[in-house]
Symmetry: C2
Subunit: 195 residues, 2 copies
């Protein structure tokens, strides 16, 4: 019943992750009724980001420049290279303020069942990058999901074969949690990796 | 740490209702990493909708034309006028397939505490519209919230003063529900309005 132009907007909003038909309709109606300026700003930001944002040639995070600001930062410790699955994971690590090395952003994690192999996530580029003669330690910070663990395992084998020192983010009990409510696998790991 | 262009996109995505900082970041990263074509389509749809979609002069729903397709439809029963708060409510009524009259879309509901009065939601235009000599019955389909009920009450007084027949959507037990779990106010109304 709605106008085809409105319907096209509702359809287009469904590219957003986690947004179904109902939320998309609510968003479209909200923008048209209450925030047309916001809608125009959003459209312009989308076009500008798609146009200007590419990937850093060294670490493959999002960047407008050929080499991103983090890679060019001389105060960063170039001997450490932290491997993450996405720029979002990199952002989370940066917010902790406790890492001062460089990054390498994979294009996701290995997932053989979905046909995502070593080549798709950029393992070759990582191996080259880790062998630049400066990198001394690679910190694997892929997710602690099945895919992330497989990826970490494969990367660590490949890197160790090439003589690179590899570490993995510690598994353990999250800060602020009560043991009673922590899952058993996590407690078992925390016991094994006690220090 | 992220590029200002990406940050601007994250900020811009927050105009969407129900989207906070974290979801906006996830959306921005997802679009840039996995669906740049979708992002461009979304931007174009937003611009087209903002540019082309206005309000129907008769019923004030979203429309590209001066008068919307529903108002122009000769198979619709022009003697019935259904009053809703938003185009989304109109869409919900249309999907039932059980209403064949015309609509009048208010710009929301009365909310004296937020300073939203009769003029803001277009009551004067509704009163004119209902007095066109053809409308025989006005069905009040504002929401069954505090604001929607107040709006229905005020509208029904104003319309009755002008000699218009006014009805309200029935209150009662929702289809498929068990009495044990229905709230008491609803059961009380269903008892009163039994038929």
């Amino acid at each position: 019943m709605t106008d085809p132009v409105v319907n096209r907007l509702i359809e287009a909003l469904r590219v957003l992750p986690g947004i179904g038909q109902k939320s998309a309709q609510r968003m479209a109606f909200h923008l048209l009724q209450h925030d047309r300026n916001g809608a125009v700003r959003l459209a312009q930001s989308l076009l500008q980001a798609v146009d200007e944002i590419g990937h850093c040639e060294r670490c493959h995070t999002f960047s407008r420049d050929r080499i991103c600001a983090t890679c060019l930062d001389p105060t960063r410790d170039a001997r450490m290279l932290c491997v993450v699955e996405t720029p979002a994971d990199q952002a989370a690590l940066e917010r902790t303020g406790s890492y001062r090395g460089l990054y390498f952003v994979l294009a996701g994690a290995l997932s053989p069942l979905d046909g995502v192999g070593m080549h798709d996530i950029g393992v070759t580029r990582l191996l080259e990058r880790a062998n630049d003669g400066v990198v001394d330690e690679v910190v694997l910070a892929t997710n602690f999901t099945a895919e992330g663990e497989v990826t970490a395992h494969v990367l660590s084998e490949q890197l160790r074969q090439r003589g690179v020192r590899v570490t993995r983010l510690a598994r353990g009990v999250p800060v602020g949690s009560e043991l009673e409510y922590v899952d058993l696998g996590t407690i078992a790991h925390a016991l094994m990796d006690r220090r």
